[in-house]
Amino acid sequence: MLEIKNLHVQLEEEDKQILKGVNLTVEAGKVHAIMGPNGSGKSTLSYVLSGKDGYEVTEGSATLDGADILEMEPEERAAAGVFLAFQYPVEIPGVGNMTFLRTAVNSQRKARGEEEMSATEFLKVIRAKAKDLKIDADMLKRPVNVGFSGGEKKRNEILQMAMLEPKMCILDETDSGLDVDAMKLVADGVNALRDEGRGFLVITHYQRLLDHIKPDVVHIMADGRIIKTGGPELALEVENNGYADLLAEAV
């Protein structure tokens, strides 16, 4: 589904290479985790895939079901099925959460040439999905992420993911700032979306999120490259021994 080949990326404003040849394939129905030390390029990878400004791809490619996503605007990637759950969701005062989500859902549908969702249908769907994530009516009405706690913001990201039903979900340190209960709730939300047609790329520092979202494949990223790929046991190895051994091995 998602195929990243030899991806080289540098910051636009300074001549600094961040990704130095990433190769990664996420198959439909699979959960891939990326772990790695700070500054290894994990978040950059998520931003480059979702189309944030400020990065320049100097070499390589990224395709979703064969379509070159690097050529697309962020909203086109979203309509094609890419979703990024942000590490730091942005607050948007004055814009109700529901209004925002309905605009997003219908923009994507319109872009794909599908019929827009009516207000009634939307309300029905969102209420059911919000309930599963313990998001109350008040949170749906409030301005996007304004005054939300860390946990509420992350749950709101998962709610957006559930409503938009993307093909390829990228979760950027979704566990950061969450207590154990909140992490469980978020993980349950993600697990509920696991599906044969959907791929996941879960970026995290810690093994603990992967206790709840069981990955099929674990990658270790360091200095802009994937240095090791393995099964879930690789995450446990990191948890027990840290990154030092793996990094030494890679050199």
Binding site: S50, G51, K52, D53, E73, P74, E75, R77, A78, A79, F83, L84, F86, P89, V90, I92, P93, G94, V95, F100, T103, A104, V105, S107, Q108, A111, P143, Q160, L164
Partner: protein, 425 residues
């Protein structure tokens, strides 16, 4: 002291073009105002208080021509249950207005009020108080020459808002309106205003709020692109009274909204907010002067301006905390969202504090659309245009949310949305 010749000539020319309505209880106040405006002279570009806004087209004898807007967009506040009062080019239109009658409220026309009238104690009185320390000659001119307006006395909680609708039918109309509002102790009124009024509009409103009284004001100055307006609100607040005023301005080649607030009773609250959206030949000036002269009063100024295609926004806001006005809580923010590099925002925030136990904060910023927010919205599938609009609404939110009534907030937001989406084509 004699006026500079150029100012004297401009003032004489303007006054010569006007006729003072004669007779009635307001005569003395009008003559006093005429003497005052002759002494101070009308503003010109050399006046410090008009440094950022050229007053010449507001002062010249005839109103510059302003084309009428052709639009099929319905007028704002249409869904609100209200008492409608219509002015066409600055003249009251009985045919289009509801009966001037409502429980707990008396409404008279300035033009035909009886000779003994409560408004005598307010008309020109608050305006005169507002001339110190800075002269506001256009308001004084208004007191002298206002040809129409309303005298609204509120004695209890008004059952619904009074809605003033200004229509503009003549391309050269030059309207001078003066309203007086008196809110008795414990009484409450919401006043709505909308419409372009005239090619050139000089409006003055004096609002006297007695102890425990509440006055809400929501105004939408919109539509016509070439209209000009100089408006002034003068208000005096008694103990535990509340004044909340919000203005949306869209379009208009020149608008100057002045607001002079005196907090004279303890524990009074005054909020003044404004949101404007300007495109191209648009100059919008908010000038505010708040005097804290009592204990434990709160004032808030929240002004947000969205500017594009060379539009100009101005903010001059001052908080004066007098000696003895302890426990004052003053807040002032003025911000602009510049949608391109041709637009400009000029801000002059001022604080002058003579009491030692007060909290006053002020801030002023200019910025572009938040890139993080834009990426967030686009990453959810929202196109760049609508995403920018949503962030623009978000930018204005702090000002719009100063309106307490949520339905009125929605009315304002939907106008801004329509204005923005028209510009996306």
């Amino acid at each position: 002291m004699a006026l500079p010749q150029i100012k004297q000539d401009a003032t004489d020319a303007r006054l010569a073009a006007l006729d003072m309505p004669k007779g009635g209880w307001a005569q003395a106040a009008r003559e006093d105002a005429l003497a005052r405006v002759q002494a101070m002279g009308l503003p010109n570009a050399r006046d410090e208080y008009w440094k950022y806004t050229r007053p010449d087209t507001l002062v010249q004898p005839d109103a510059p021509k302003a084309a009428l807007l052709e639009s099929d967009e319905a007028l704002i506040f249409g869904a609100v249950d209200r008492l409608k009062i219509v002015f066409v080019d600055g003249v009251f239109s009985a045919d289009e207005s509801d009966d001037l009658a409502m429980a707990h409220v008396s409404i008279d026309r300035l033009a035909d009020a009886p000779d003994i009238h409560w408004a005598k104690d307010v008309y020109g009185v608050l305006e005169t108080r507002g001339q110190t320390p800075v002269h506001r000659p256009l308001a004084t001119l208004n007191t002298a020459f206002a040809s129409d307006g309303l005298l609204i006395h509120v004695t209890g909680k008004a059952p619904k808002p009074i809605s003033l609708i200004y229509r503009h039918e003549s391309e050269v109309s030059d309207a001078i309106l003066h309203h007086v509002v008196k809110i008795d102790s414990g009484a409450e009124l919401t006043l709505l205003e909308n419409g372009p009024a005239a090619a050139r509009f000089n409006k003055c409103m004096e609002v006297e709020i007695a102890g425990g009284g509440t006055f809400h004001h929501v105004r939408a100055q919109g539509r016509d692109h070439e209209r000009r307006a100089a408006t002034a609100i003068f208000t005096r607040l008694g103990e535990e009274s509340v004044f909340k005023s919000f203005t949306l301005t869209a379009n208009g080649v020149l608008t100057r909204n002045e607001c002079v607030i005196e907090l004279t009773g303890d524990n009074a609250v005054a909020h003044i907010a404004g949101a404007c959206v300007g495109d191209g030949d648009f100059h919008h000036d908010d000038t505010v002067f708040i005097t804290h002269d009592a204990l434990n009063c709160e004032s808030r100024q929240v002004f947000k301006k969205v500017l594009r295609n060379g539009a100009t926004g101005v903010f001059q806001g001052k908080i004066l905390v007098k000696e003895g006005a302890q426990k004052t809580d003053g807040y002032q923010i003025s911000q602009s969202l510049l949608l391109d590099e041709d637009s400009q925002f000029l801000a002059k925030p001022e604080l002058e504090i003579y009491a030692d136990d007060v909290a006053c904060s002020h801030g002023s910023t200019s910025g572009a659309i938040d890139e993080e927010g834009l990426f967030y919205l686009r990453s959810r599938g929202i196109d760049e245009g609508p995403a920018t609009d949503l962030l623009t609404i978000a930018f204005l939110a702090e000002a719009v949310m100063e309106i307490e009534n949520e339905a009125l907030q929605d009315e304002i937001n939907s106008r801004v949305e329509a204005w923005l989406s028209r510009r996306r084509g």
